[in-house]
């Protein structure tokens, strides 16, 4: 039996996980830095590594930028005391962080991040990529609900309930907002109707965001809600629920929730870029200036990452700009505004496509 | 004008008519009117000299026509007042019928302001280091009537600041305002004329006569009556500021005079004892020897554990054990003339519950000084008589008890606060008997006691004493006792309850008085709440024939006491 493909796949997976985890870790740093800047502070700028920190100018600069902060954060998570409250349901209490973390890491499997010689750079280029992402990422909410329920105390419980309600409310709008993009990207009867690679390729001239701004907006808002980011961070809501579903968690278990949340953001940003911002396409009208071979693959990947980072930055920028919604406002926005809007958008686009296909061409 | 009744006359203070006893002066009259007449040299128990001039006031008499004796009326038909053109001192002005005075007129205020200014010219203004600060008349009147700043630019007079007038009194001459209260006290009350002024004018200085010093047993009263910080107590000097002291009414246990005192304490520590005015007993004085009686309260050899045969235990266990021993019979009870009336009453109940073979008291005698120390140095022998604990006056030695123990007639001794080794019972005798001892400090009796109840000193508990006049006076808790020690009445009550389960142990003196006032005819109607501050005279005629040893002292004459008692009994 030939083990080589398996080994290569494993290696790719490990690389992918490392990169995404790294990005997630630095997203935490970015969050703190941006929070600081927006509030007129410096943000973390004290952590020094033994040898790099003492390099004359560079070391100091890196320290001021807080580059080593994630290392300290990670070590702190690992070495902190891990108290387990006496009143929790132990099995689910320990299960919950894993359930929250695994879906966040799994969705990255089908996310394409570059193109080399016409072949997508992705761990698993499956036809139903988008469906897979929607299906798996929704599982993440089980972790939150489990955490809230197993903690067996008021605030986590409220947090869990809010998370589930919010997830259901916005999942619909999100799903419906994606469909127009796929409708436009694929010819009727296409076999790769839900493939993300196809969507990117269909945007080589015009990014979907310019063609479908309403869909993009609905998707963006729903994405904020799905990732529990401010202004939709109902499950955490520090001022109301202490810290929501993970109130009773500490140490690395809290760390898993935390990293899972940021992984979610990174992957979500990736999906947004793939669907509406042209993936690794250079600019609208300039589809693919990258050279062939591995250099092209690398450059397209970097370009894609740059776009993802911009979206992640936007996530944080929004967080430190907008206040939190009231819970009933969140519900009203989801059910009474976004859902009808997404439905109407879908119907309108379907009609437009029908018109376009049958009469205009 | 109001109708004068008995010896009362009508005077007008700031146009307000009040009735005052005839013969008092205008300082007292204004005090009765609820107004303040500032004064330094005047003291209600001393003669009037009128040298401070602080009590200047305006006064006038209703005018009458000299020829006809008819009152001269003004336009409103009121009798005209002939105000004197110059101010007069209130302390030397007797209250006359119909006299009008002004205590707050422009002239009076100016007078006070001027007097204050002269007094403060040479005053060192060292209030931060002065022990009198906080209870200093000069401070009070300076803030009430003073000008607030000094116009005096010359050098202040300098006088000696640390003169020892005697073993207990220190003089700071700069602060002295030459009121001469101390001189008059020594002359008139202590009858030990040692103080006087020397030199003239602003160089006048208080000093002892050559070869004499202020060392009589009443010298510290000069410190109390000094209106400024000139005379200070060497014992209390620089120890604590007076504004920290919480003052609690207490009774001096030095002798059967029952001097009323105030215990000044802060945070559970007594710093000084001062006399409390009671015109029926001690006026405003007390002997120096009574002021140091608080020292044992803080000593290291206090008993602090309830003990059975040397083992620490709880008060309930100790009471149970003591009741076991007592119920075997052949008990002798030794009470104390230093215990309060309440304790003696409970002890009597215990004595009758165990059918005591004998009940005795230990007498303490000394020489009376004819003023505030009597020959009987037990504060409460009469309480023991009234509660029925004893019928005869006590002896100094318990020779009868000693024989009883030796012959085996007495097997158990219950002693309430008396160190039996000091009154004729040797240690070997005590070891032969079962001993139950209530005491405050470690001593030989406590060492051999089978059951030991630690008790509280007079400053740590409440109760009452009956002094030589049969005057019932209460004292109150000034400082908390050692941790875990119950008041004596509590221990005694528990013991009584163990002996006789039907009696409910009293929780406070109110309970005991309820029982005493119904059980003792002389105490009928008395309760702790209705004992006045000056004490309550109890009818002691039943014991008038007993040979009390007290001689004549302030407000007490055994001869008149006896003859009065005879009259009542007739």
């Amino acid at each position: 039996m030939n083990y080589l493909p398996i080994l290569i796949a494993l290696l790719k997976a490990v690389i992918m996980i490392s990169v995404v985890m790294g990005i997630a870790a630095y997203a935490v740093l970015a969050e703190r830095k941006i929070a600081g800047w927006i509030q007129g502070r410096y943000g973390p700028n004290r952590t020094v590594l033994p040898f790099i920190g003492v390099i004359p100018i560079l070391g100091n600069m890196l320290t001021r930028l807080g580059i080593f902060q994630p290392v300290a954060d990670g070590l702190k998570f690992i070495f902190k005391e891990d108290p387990v409250p006496g009143h929790v349901n132990k099995f689910y209490y320990f299960l919950a962080p894993c359930v929250a973390f695994i879906p966040a890491m799994t969705t990255m499997v089908v996310l394409p991040f570059g193109e080399m010689d016409g072949v997508p750079l992705v761990l698993a280029n499956i036809d139903i990529g988008m469906l897979f992402i929607l299906a798996v990422s929704s599982l993440g909410v089980y972790g939150i609900i489990l955490a809230g329920w197993s903690a067996n105390s008021k605030y986590p419980f409220l947090g869990g309930i809010r998370a589930s309600a919010q997830m259901i409310s916005y999942e619909l709008a999100m799903g419906l907002s994606i469909l127009p993009a796929f409708l436009w990207a694929n010819a009727p009867g296409s076999e790769t109707g839900l493939s993300l690679f196809n969507v990117v390729q269909s945007q080589d001239q015009l990014w979907m965001v310019f063609w479908q701004p309403l869909s993009a907006l609905i998707f963006l808002v729903a994405l904020f809600a799905e990732t529990n980011r401010l202004p939709f961070d109902m499950p955490e809501a520090e001022t109301e629920l202490v810290s929501g579903y993970h109130t009773e968690y500490g140490s690395m278990k809290f760390g898993l929730f935390f990293v899972g949340e940021y992984t979610h953001i990174v992957i979500g940003s990736g999906v947004l870029v793939v669907l509406y911002f042209g993936g690794w396409n250079f600019l609208p009208g300039i589809p693919f200036p990258w050279p062939a071979g591995w250099a092209g693959g690398l450059l397209s990947t970097l370009w894609f990452l740059l776009k993802v980072f911009s979206v992640v930055f936007f996530f944080m920028w929004i967080r430190w700009t907008l206040p939190r919604f009231r819970y009933d406002q969140v519900m009203r926005l989801g059910w009474a505004i976004l859902l009808p809007l997404a439905l109407a958008n879908l119907v309108l686009n379907a009609i437009l496509i029908a018109l376009f296909e049958n009469w205009l061409v | 004008m109001k109708e004068p009744e008995n010896n009362f006359i009508s005077v007008f203070i700031d146009e307000e008519e009040i009735l005052v006893p005839s013969g008092i002066n205008m300082v007292e009259a204004t005090r009765l009117a609820g107004k303040e007449m500032p004064h330094y040299c005047y003291h209600q128990k001393l003669s009037v000299t009128g040298n401070c001039r602080m009590c200047l006031m305006e006064y006038g008499m209703p005018l009458t026509d000299r020829a006809t004796g008819e009152p001269i009326l003004d336009r409103r038909g009121m009798q005209k007042i002939g105000w004197l053109p110059r101010p007069a001192i209130a302390c030397a002005t007797k209250a006359l019928p119909g006299i009008h005075i002004r205590t707050d007129s422009e002239l009076v205020r100016e007078c006070r302001n001027g007097v204050m200014e002269f007094l403060l010219i040479n005053h060192p203004l060292d209030c931060p280091i002065c022990d009198q600060a906080g209870e200093c008349s000069l401070q009070e009147y300076a803030s009430d009537y003073g000008r607030g700043y000094s116009r005096f630019v010359e050098n202040k007079n300098v006088k000696p600041k640390r003169t020892r007038l005697g073993p207990r009194v220190m003089l700071d001459d700069e602060r002295c305002i030459l009121c001469s209260r101390c001189i008059r006290f020594c002359k008139e009350i202590a009858k030990d004329d040692v103080l006087g002024f020397i030199d003239r004018g602003s160089y006048s200085t208080l000093t002892c006569f050559p070869g004499r010093s202020l060392e009589n047993n009443y010298s510290l009263n000069t410190v109390d009556i000094c209106p400024v910080g000139a005379l200070t107590s060497i014992d209390f000097r620089f120890k604590m500021r007076v504004w920290f002291l919480k003052e609690t009414a207490s009774i001096c246990t030095e002798s059967s005079v029952g001097v009323n005192t105030l215990a000044g304490c802060r945070e559970g520590k007594i710093y000084r004892i001062t006399p409390r005015r009671n015109d029926e007993v001690n006026d405003t004085w007390m002997p120096d020897s009574g002021r140091i009686l608080h020292n044992p309260v803080d000593s290291d050899d206090r008993l602090v554990h309830y003990t059975i045969d040397g083992k620490h235990t709880l008060v309930e266990e100790a009471a149970k054990k003591a009741a076991d021993i007592l119920s075997k019979g052949a008990v002798a009870v030794v009470g104390s003339g230093r215990a309060s009336v309440e304790e003696q009453y409970l002890l009597r109940k215990i004595a009758s519950a165990v059918n005591a073979v004998s009940v005795s008291l230990v007498s303490r005698t000394g020489e009376g000084d004819g003023l505030l120390i009597s020959a009987d140095r037990n504060p409460n022998v009469r309480g023991a008589l009234l509660t029925g604990l004893i019928e005869q006056l006590p002896h100094a030695n318990l020779t009868n008890l000693a024989t009883d123990v030796e012959t085996g007639k007495v097997k158990t001794i219950l002693s309430l606060g008396e160190d039996l080794t000091q009154c004729g019972l040797g240690r070997d005798l005590l070891e032969k008997s079962n001993l139950i001892y209530f005491g405050t400090h470690c001593n030989e009796t406590g060492e051999v006691a089978h059951v030991l109840f630690p008790t509280l000193t007079v400053f740590e508990k409440s109760g009452s004493f009956l002094n030589q006049q049969f005057r019932l006076q209460t004292f109150h808790t000034a400082v908390p006792g050692p941790a875990g020690i119950r008041p004596d009445i509590d221990s005694l009550g528990k013991l009584l309850h163990c002996l006789d389960p039907e009696t409910i142990p009293p929780s406070n003196t109110v309970d005991i008085w309820a029982s005493m006032s119904s059980g003792i005819p002389q105490f009928a109607g008395v309760s702790v709440e209705n004992i006045p501050k000056t004490g309550l005279l109890i009818d002691g005629s039943q014991w008038a024939q007993l040979p009390f040893i007290e001689g004549k002292s302030l407000h007490y004459d055994p001869a008149t006491q006896q003859s009065e008692a005879m009259n009542i009994s007739k």
Binding site: I38, G40 | P128, I129, V158, R237, F238, W243, F244
Partner: protein, 182 residues
């Protein structure tokens, strides 16, 4: 009626989406990011302490090295959290400052209790206690944070006032002595 109730202006279509407002907010926060930071990097950079700041209370000596406190205990009396404990004492008669008579034997300030109200400074008749600019104190035990007299003088140092109240008193006494009085 003292006030007039105004009807709120109805939102127009664009305002009802809230998007313009969100964009305006984003603009503000974006420019905030580029502004100068207001953070004072504390242990490296110390704030400028204004005059009249109420830091830790300390005892001071006068320029000639005399301890100014005469243990009048007014600060102990006025201290709201009862942080000050004084045991007064007498200055021995052979001392240079014997004419002051009184000085604290012990003077403790419990810095854990102190609330920096400054009443002690205000009440002091001898200008012997001053609140310094020191605002951060730390220690390993409660006992350590009860500052004894020696430490209070060490922290307080000298206060450069020129009153010399007690010096004047002594010189007046000496002058009088020379003139044959007293």
């Amino acid at each position: 009626m003292a006030f007039k109730q105004l009807a709120r202006k109805p939102l127009n279509w664009a305002e009802r989406t809230y998007l313009p407002q969100i964009i305006m907010g984003l603009k503000i926060t974006f420019w905030n990011m580029l502004k100068k930071k207001v953070t004072l990097e504390y242990p490296d950079v110390r704030p400028v302490i204004p005059n009249g700041y109420r830091g830790i209370p300390t005892l001071v000596k006068d320029p000639k090295g005399r301890e100014k406190c005469v243990s009048c205990q007014l600060c102990e009396f006025v201290c709201p959290p009862k942080a000050i404990r004084i045991q007064p004492g007498e200055i021995p008669e052979d001392s240079e400052n014997a004419h002051v008579e009184k000085a604290p034997k012990e003077f403790d300030i419990d810095m854990l209790r102190c609330i920096y109200c400054g009443f002690c400074q205000e009440v002091c008749p001898e200008e012997a206690i001053f609140l310094q600019k020191v605002f951060s104190l730390s220690g390993y035990s409660r006992e350590e944070m009860v500052f004894p007299k020696a430490k209070l003088y060490e922290l307080g140092g000298t206060y450069p006032d020129q009153h010399y109240k007690w010096e004047k008193k002594r010189s007046a006494a000496e002058e009088n002595q020379a003139n044959g009085h007293g």
